[in-house]
Amino acid sequence: MSASNMQSPVRDNRSRMPAWTRNLRFREAVAGYLFLLPWLLGLALFILGPMIASGYLSFTRYDIVNTPRFVGTKNFVEIFTKDRLFWPSVLLTFRYALIVVPFSLIGSLLAAMLLNQALRGTTWFRTFFFLPHLTPIVAAAVLWGWIFNPDVGPINHWIRTITGSPDAPGWFRDPAWAMTGLIIMAMWGAIGGNTMLIFLAGLQGVPQELYDAAVVDGAGTWAKFWNVTIPMLTPTIFFNTVLGVIGALRVFAAAFVATQGGPAYATWFYSLHIYTKAFKYFEMGYASALAWIFFFVLFVFTYVQFMQSKKWVYYAGEVD
């Protein structure tokens, strides 16, 4: 410490070490790297290293017992041409995301707007909306399985009471309804969650002057919503969309616990497909190839969204 205090006014050329090593900049950089060290190690050990390993494995056959056998692009060719569950699981996953993401975004925005109306008891409403998001996914899957119980669940009881007929969906036991059940369950957890809180903060960040100016120009409620609120919220909408898409495409635990991918593969999501190949059949090479395809797709999706965002996202505070 004392050395660093000494060196700046008096330039000491007699030292053996090159002068730049005692430069403040250099010391700062060394300290910076030292504080960064845990994460540098973590990146190498738990992220980049395993990525390289799984990248290599994706070109091999590996069943854990025998050593990995290099097979070139055989895994990928098989995935795209022979795997009977690959395309259905991809389509299922996209279909799920395509419904869950827009609906939960719109739902979250509406909920946030409702909470932004300065109603009495807003704190309570916010808590009620948020609690489902806190419920552990495994517990949520268990309790929704019970609510969707085809015979004695409350939902089917209501459906039967309203329609007056004894027929009601089989939900998690019915291939035609299992996906709908999972979507309802996901929306229950997503609408009042982080997305809503982030929207709420976004709404509160819209400057009141803009609304006042709009009113002076004769704008009504709708005009204010479409021409002030929505444009000012575009950064928040963008952030929530990117995270929402990534989260929805990764769906795993809910389906794994509630439906186990069934019935009749009706909820066989892509991550379930990877899981089964890797940890049930121990086809580690094949599963790594599946995982890399997944990563590639997520990357492309996120990249496209970032590119598109330049066209529609408006950053009010953009200076640099």
Partner: protein
Amino acid sequence: MAGEIVTARQKSRERSAAPTSLFQSASWRRNIGRGILYLIAIFSSAVFMFPFVWTILSSLKKSAELFRFPPTWLPESPQFQNYPQVFEIVSWAAWTWNSVLVASVATFGAVLTAALVGYSFARFRYPGRNVLFMITLSTMMLPVEVTLIPLYLLFAKIGWMDSYKPLMVPSFFGGGAFLIFLMRQFFMSIPIDLDEAARIDGAGYMRIFWQILMPLSIPVTATAAVLTFMGEWNSFLHPFLFLNTKAKFTLAVGIRYFQSVAVVTDDTEPKYHLLMAASVMMTLPIILMFFVAQRYLVQGIVMSGIKG
């Protein structure tokens, strides 16, 4: 109930008829608007809370009552002994302790190291910093499956299977991109003049971190800790893969196991009432934690979303 419906209907009739000037006045219309907003808020709260209510009611019923048709609302006589019974038929106490242990240790490691790394990204200038930060952020979209397979093989090879090491040790290496981002954002909001004043007084980097920045960052540290703890408590895939012995399960894995055996009527009856009690007991600590840390939690989530 009936009264409410009548008034709502009356209101809508009045609104649609509404020829007199009184009903066209702005304050009248505003009041109607507020009333509708309250109705929507109360109705949607009820929808969101219904699954909890149903679960709690189910957890207090007898097994036979659960399968009665048509379903009953309130339990005939509340069976509070269902809760202690969960502890008897599965190792609930052990699973709870395991969850507490794993979540606490992982949270400690993650928050501590994320703060150090966030400090580095926020306060130091060095070559490659921005590139490393971009890499850090982009790891958020990495699907867990890409790294999970090699890590599984690695942990199996070094004999970490069926222990808590795979669930705890990696947390001590920065705590993940989200926490690092959160800490960095917060540190960047603290004026650098404070650091500089401390440096002039002779404080080193470590001392600035512990005595200047951390005391000012208690709210964000609390947020980070609560979010991490909840995430670890709820985490399913990793403990499910790495733990085999039933006694070592965490709650998430345990409740899934319980679900798979609850339907089996080996001795007497299905145990769905106990499964519901177990769900309540797994969720309750998280909800309590939310009430205690509500302010920090909401702030932290909001902070992470600002300026995407």
